[in-house]
């Protein structure tokens, strides 16, 4: 008897349910409109919250991925952003504070046929859930993590977060916060994430482009989305959003293009000693010195250097895809191991129970 690689032993109840569903509902519907992803649930974020913009952008761009709604699962933790699944007509789980990447890992690893998304915030992903985030990234499980960074705790009404700037005055830090913030992109690259991007909530075009690439990436993708909390941290990203200052401080990342930015392309990024990068005036350097963005570099140190260009006041913020490299995804490798284990056929329970030294007691 020969067994083909990848042949499942017998259809599981999961396979049977999906087959039955196809019989009952016909082939999967993948030609959808943005409104098909809306649910009947009233959206309950504060009026003016950046989350609305992100929700709209996600719902509008999802049809372009060609994924059936039933094949998508959104897992979230706790926080304002984590209400996201309730508003998406897909499968979803609103789980526990910080644990969404862990829950999504089990789902994605056992169901590689699904498109698994995590929606999280700066407190959820970087504070209480920091451990799960870095391990999800290093494992490279196939999932897309949207990290809504508003640099504040909103749902608990305004305490500083792990991305708040030093000296932040909040209810819990009346004399200013003391701890140094995480740079989520640097953190993700430190965990050797295979896809790391950053986008602005209000930049529909830029956000959609990063999300599209993240969704298409095999492995874990992390997208940091700067998101305005108009109640507790209003204007946190104004420096980058204001048409007067935004272009000056934003470094758009386009693969294969020189890193030139600012009004009239006055600024650029050049190499520095010890492998770092620095900002220069374009007319002061030889064009050959200007770095041409390459998101596919295997070594994460270039992308890391990019992430270090910005300081906590957000000046010189690169926006776009920092890193996009191909590595085998955890779920695919796990499936391969199962296939390999079944090369000589599916497991035989009788033989397993019988294993080892046995003896017979006669009647």
């Amino acid at each position: 008897m020969t067994v083909e690689l990848g042949m499942p032993d017998a259809p599981t109840p999961i396979d049977a349910a999906i087959a039955r569903s196809l019989e009952q509902h016909g082939p999967k519907v993948t030609e959808l409109k943005g409104k098909d992803f809306k649910t009947d649930q009233e959206v309950r974020w504060c009026p003016g919250c950046g989350d609305y913009v992100i929700l709209n952008a996600v719902q509008s761009f999802l049809p372009s991925l060609g994924i059936a709604r039933e094949d998508m699962v959104i897992v979230s933790g706790i926080g304002c952003s984590s209400r996201f699944p309730y508003y998406m007509n897909t499968y979803g789980m609103h789980s526990i504070h910080g644990r969404a990447p862990a829950i999504a890992t089990g789902l994605a690893a056992s169901r590689p046929d699904l498109s698994v998304w995590v929606v999280t915030g700066d407190g959820d992903a970087l504070s209480i859930g920091g451990n799960h985030l870095i391990h999800a990234l290093r494992r490279n499980v196939n999932m897309t993590i949207l990290l809504f960074n508003n640099r504040i705790y909103g749902l608990t009404k305004g305490q500083y977060s792990p991305t708040s700037e030093v000296g932040k005055v909040t209810k819990s830090t009346p004399m200013g916060s003391l701890d140094h913030p995480f740079n989520p992109v640097s953190l993700a690259l430190g965990a050797d994430a295979t896809f790391v991007g950053r986008a602005m909530d209000s930049d529909r075009k830029g956000l959609t482009e990063v999300l599209r690439q993240a969704a298409e990436h095999k492995g874990t993708s992390l997208v940091e989305i700067y998101q305005n909390c108009n109640i507790f941290n209003d204007g946190a990203f104004e420096l980058l959003k204001d048409p007067a200052t935004g272009p000056m401080w934003t470094i758009p990342l386009e693969h294969g293009k020189p890193l030139v930015f600012g009004p009239d392309g006055a600024s650029c990024v050049v190499r520095e000693d010890f492998g770092g990068l620095r900002i220069a005036e374009t007319n002061q350097v030889d064009p050959s010195e200007i770095v041409v963005h390459d998101a596919t570099r295997e070594d994460p140190s270039y992308a890391f250097a990019l992430s270090r260009l910005s300081s906590q006041d957000l000046r010189y913020s690169p926006m776009g895809v920092f890193r996009k490299v191909q590595k085998p995804s955890y779920d695919a490798m796990m499936t391969e191991q199962l296939d390999e284990a079944r090369l000589s056929g599916p497991g035989d329970l009788t033989a397993l129970l019988d294993g080892g030294d046995t003896w017979e007691v006669k009647a």
């Binding site: 499942p8 032993d9 599981t12 109840p13 999961i14 049977a16 349910a17 999906i18 039955r20 569903s21 009952q24 509902h25 059936a68 709604r69 039933e70 094949d71 998508m72 979230s76 699944p85 309730y86 998406m88 007509n89 499968y91 979803g92 789980m93 609103h94 789980s95 526990i96 862990a102 829950i103 999504a104 890992t105 089990g106 789902l107 994605a108 690893a109 056992s110 169901r111 699904l114 451990n131 799960h132 391990h135 199962l338 390999e340 284990a341 079944r342 056929g345 599916p346 497991g347 329970l349 009788t350 397993l352 129970l353 294993g355 080892g356 030294d357 046995t358 003896w359 017979e360 007691v361």
Partner: protein
């Protein structure tokens, strides 16, 4: 060779039946064979001496010979404490018999001590007159000083109360391996196999299994395999020819139910039960686990069975382990997490989420001594109340417990049945004693195991009146909610930790709904009682007035104690619980039948508390938290006292 007692008379320290037959051994030595009905042997040595391996091999030989047996491995949490010190002593005890045995024995009949530390740590438990076998080579001034022996016990007469045989185990092993090409240090490591050979001769054990095992174990290092086999044979032949041992012992096979048997540990049986649950439900298995003593062997075992559609995930922490398992359950797999008490504490919040999302999940807690890090390698039953109540909010979950190593298999299948049928997290409480202990196990017929396919019914069609899918619409009988998995069209829904509206599962803050849902979740768990057997009572005469009730691994010691009590002409009923939440539906009535109910536990009275609270029964709690299992003699005395005082007070009342 030195010895305080060069030849050993027939050993029968505890009144076990013995008959002596003389026979002639090679070399004209007259050796006698004594028939015994049971023996308890304890092997003790340094952590590096391989006592656990030696014990396991002797167990395998004994099991395949056909004796019934129970084992008790006992080792320190330190992987290698300093050589020759008391904290580094590791031991392995087994009782084997020509009849069914329920425990590894209260005290050893035979103690093998590989060094002074092993002697010092164990001698107090060897009853006077017991057989003591020592490695004389290890009784050096340096080793004696390490454990505070001022004089050498081999020479100072302090061992006169025992039948002491000191054997130069190390030097004889070296002598046997002098042509093996191995260095002294390496050759010395085979002394455990020399010892095993000697014991195999003493107790007429079959040796082929051990030789096959050594060949298999060291197939990549044939010279090591050869050395171990040579040492093993040398030990056997030494026993056969030496004058030091004039007697060997015969323990006839125990009558056991016909069938095919293997020797199995609790962790192994539990892992196989989980594989079987996957096969019998058709579902893929997903184990999310973080290494922890004494549960890690379940992770190791399951990770070897990928061919059974088993995925194992070593998570970054306990929380991620259960989180991933719950995520897999959401996708339609049977999610499992395995841990010990400290891990359960970390998993509490996710168990609550599983209660709220009403997804199947099996949580295995191999209990160890607590609190905090406690005694990682020792046994205890002190997580019962944590299992019952260790979560925020009203978060009831079923709790079940196996009673013996082999029973871990059935308990695992039962845990999966409840989890799948009722869409609930289930807590399976094993413990260190069951996990590492072993016994002969009648291999079940795979096709006769419970069929769990009907427990899995994925919804694929809307169940609402308006053609919508209602994830919290319940089966009227089990109260299990409808379970639709991602990938099935038209059934998209969102679940989570926030309170659910009845039927729709949408977020609801409505007071009446929360009250209803809280009571419904409780009613679902209570309703499981309808699917479990009535209380298991063992009362041979049917008219006992004192009952002893237990749960989990105390089954053996309690059962053995009950036998001793009955042997003295008294009557006692033994009640043992597999299901602790919910209890069997008739448990209250059953308890009310007795004048006295005694509840021995390896905690400070956790089951007693539950029984008293639920049934208003004046349960007499008897507790021990030494990290070791109960001794049946101690339990028998407690039961006997209870019976005698009950009878006395009743007689008094009648006068």
């Amino acid at each position: 060779m030195t010895g305080t007692n060069p030849t050993v008379a027939p050993s029968n320290p505890d009144g076990a039946l013995a008959t002596t037959v003389s026979s002639s051994a090679p070399g004209g030595l007259v050796k006698s064979v004594v028939a015994l009905d049971r023996v308890v042997i304890r092997l003790a040595g340094d952590s590096g001496d391989g006592m656990q391996l030696t014990g396991n091999r002797f167990t395998s030989e004994t099991a395949s010979f056909g004796n019934d047996l129970k084992t008790l491995p006992n080792f320190p949490a330190e992987i290698r404490a300093p050589t020759g010190t008391l904290p580094g002593v590791s031991s392995f005890q087994l009782q084997f018999a020509d009849h069914d045995v329920m425990t590894p024995g209260d005290a050893p009949d035979v103690l093998v001590a590989m060094n002074p530390a092993a002697l010092k740590a164990n001698l107090s438990e060897l009853p006077g007159g017991g057989l003591l076998i020592l490695d004389s080579d290890e009784f050096t001034p340096r080793n004696l000083a390490k454990v505070g022996y001022a004089t050498n016990p081999l020479e100072d007469g302090s061992l006169e109360g025992w039948q002491t045989v000191s054997v130069a185990l190390t030097s004889m092993t070296l002598e046997a391996l002098k042509d093996s090409g191995l260095g002294k240090k390496e050759a010395e490591r085979s002394k455990n196999m020399f010892t095993l050979g000697l014991l195999s001769w003493m107790y007429h054990r079959p040796t082929e299994g051990t030789i096959r095992f050594l060949e298999r174990q060291f197939r990549r290092k044939p010279e090591i395999a050869a050395a171990n086999i040579a040492a093993f044979r040398a030990g056997y032949n030494y026993g056969d020819t030496t004058e030091a041992f004039a007697v060997s012992y015969e323990i006839k096979p125990a009558p056991m139910k016909p069938g095919r048997y293997r020797n199995i540990s609790g962790n192994q049986a539990l892992a196989l039960g989980l594989v079987a649950a996957g096969q019998r439900s058709g579902l893929p298995i997903f184990l999310g686990a973080y290494p922890i003593t004494p549960a890690s062997d379940i992770l190791h075992e399951l990770s070897r069975h990928k061919a059974f559609n088993v995925r194992t995930f070593q998570a970054e922490d306990e929380i991620a382990g259960i989180g991933a398992a719950l995520g897999a359950s959401f996708g339609g797999a049977l999610g499992i997490t395995t841990t010990s008490g400290p891990g359960v504490a970390l998993k509490a919040e996710t168990i609550g989420l599983a209660v709220m999302t009403e997804l199947p999940l099996v949580i295995v807690d191999v209990q160890r001594g607590g609190p905090s890090t406690g005694l990682p390698t020792k046994t205890e039953q002190s997580d019962l109340l944590q299992a019952m109540f260790g979560r925020n909010g009203e978060a009831p979950i079923p709790v079940i417990a196996p009673r013996s190593p082999g029973d871990c298999f059935d308990a695992a299948v039962e845990a999966a049945r409840i989890a799948l049928t009722y869409r609930t997290p289930v807590m399976l409480l094993s413990d260190g004693y069951l996990a590492n202990g072993a016994e002969p196990w009648a291999i079940p017929d795979a096709d006769s195991l419970p069929d769990l396919t009907s427990a899995v019914a994925f919804a694929t069609e809307p169940n609402g009146e308006d053609g919508e899918f209602l994830p919290y619409l319940r089966d009227p009988e089990t109260l299990a909610r409808a379970w639709a998995i991602p990938g099935t069209a038209g059934m998209q829904h969102r679940i989570g930790g926030l309170e659910k509206a009845d039927k729709t599962g949408n977020i609801s803050y409505d007071p009446a709904n929360h009250d209803f849902m809280t009571r419904t979740r409780q009613a679902k768990i209570d309703g499981i009682a309808a699917s479990i057997p009535l209380t298991d009572v063992e009362d041979p005469d049917g008219d006992a007035r004192v009952a002893v009730i237990g749960w989990g691994s105390t089954y053996g010691p309690i059962g053995s104690a009950a036998r001793q009590v009955r042997g003295s002409g008294r009557k006692v009923a033994q009640i043992h619980l597999r299901h602790i939440n919910p209890f069997p539906s008739d448990l209250g009535e059953v308890l009310a039948r007795y004048d006295r109910v005694i509840c021995p536990e390896m905690n400070l009275g956790q089951l007693s508390l539950l029984l008293r609270a639920k049934y208003l029964v004046d349960v007499q709690s008897h507790t021990q938290v030494s990290g070791m299992p109960f001794r049946s003699a101690g339990l028998a005395a407690v039961i006997q006292d209870a019976i005698d005082s009950t009878t006395a007070s009743l007689n008094g009342a009648q006068q």
